[in-house]
Amino acid sequence: MNALEKGAAWLLGLAWVAPLLYAAWAAIHPAALATHFELLAPLTLDNFRKAWSYAPFARHFVNTVALVTMVLSAQLVICTLAAYAFARFDFAGRDVAFALVLVQLMVMPEVLIVENYRTMARLGLADTITGIGLPYMASAFGIFLLRQAFKTIPRELEDAARVEGCSTMGVLWRVYVPLARPTYLAYALVSVSYHWNNFLWPLIVTNSVKTRPLTVGLAIFGAPESGVDWAVISAGTLMAVAPLLVAFLVFQRQFMQSFMQAGIK
């Protein structure tokens, strides 16, 4: 690799983080100076304070954390059971059922917004956090990933556990789940990032501060009609993305591997 290419690679890297750096610059300077580059401009945390008070960020954070926790824990249970069935039980209609599960990989709930909203209204779950999470709890991707992980585990281990007196569920809990731990970790990262960032479906289901997650709150806050100035919007945006961004910076390698697995399936 010659010097020119190295320079180009670095320059592109700089360009790729520039929007974030720019937002950070605007967020820590007084609004009047946000768009001017003066190296010695005074620093301030005022924009963060304003953003925090203009929009109910604390509530949005609580909602988002509740949402991702609920979705992930339900997914882990539901997908584990289904994946176990597909990997180790020879039941009638298994292949057809599996094909029907895979349909969800392509038709995510956000594509069927009209009907799913109707269902939520009928169930009395419109404008609830459960209503945001419910359509995602049986995740085809999770079932697929765990099924593959379970299939690679040698049957002899299961047989040995049976000899020791393990029941069907005992085998799942003592043999399959512990051995699939890396897959669980990868899946958890993808699921949390997806639901932390998801927007369209939560926007449709929620209509009050009590339930709106961060993305929806951020959209209302950042909309040009809201008339909030750029420095404050930058501060708010950075606050909303900070937890996931920090997690990514710390667990970089794990994040990239998980996202890749998610893509390849």
Binding site: M1, W16, F91, V107
Partner: protein
Amino acid sequence: MKHVQGWLLLLPAAILLVAFTHYPAAATLFDSFFSTGTAVRPSRFVGIANYAALADDPVFWQVLRNNAIFALATIPTSMALAMTMAAWVNGKLPARALVRMSYFTPTVLPMIAVANLWLFFYSPQIGLLDKITGAFGAPSHNWLGDPHTVMACLAVMTVWKEAGFFMIFYLAALQSLPPELAEAARIEGASRWYFFRRVTFPLLMPTTLFVLVNATLNSFKLVDHLFILTKGGPDNASNLLLYYIYQVAFSFFDTAYAATLTVVLLALLAGLAIAQFQLVERRVHYR
């Protein structure tokens, strides 16, 4: 016994999948043959009238065209960039972990936050883009408000958001290539460009096809930024199919027509899924 156990384990997932994937898909198709019910006029069977209306709806054709333009403008560019990025961070680049991280960072941001950040670049007068063009003496321009420039602005932002995500697939593929190939090429005196064109690029073909299908699928689902930046405007110049469905259903309250539009979207997604499935099959045969 095995049958009962198998189905019992599957039951919770099956109920949820039927309730939120299969039933709504079927109900959408069913609804597309009925009119939208109102308080005074209940919904009734109208045959293919909704589809006839769709064929006559200039906005429908425009959003379909926009989806195609959006896909053509973003996918090849971000894939080429992704391949270049992967080649760079796979080589002997100083501080390459840092560079790789910065390429990937936009992937973990929500599209809403991305739109918030970029909105400022594109705003007239105070925006960065206007300042740069202003420095060359160009007059102030409303980049997102002009039908001629709005799609290009959104495309640049989307490439920025997605290239790093595609990069990791190319990176994995590059790392799985046997190093003997590069060695042999060096001994034979092949130039780096020649080696890339005749060896690396063809070997990356399965990855390229795979990323292509996924990127196309994504391009139909990615509409979050429109809520912040343009609301599909000006005059539908940046409207996309899924956003139009949202507008028809939740702003115009025409649920039957929204269902008809959704059927089109489902058909497009199904076509792409079949393409993807065949690709996977072929990849299996390679091994």
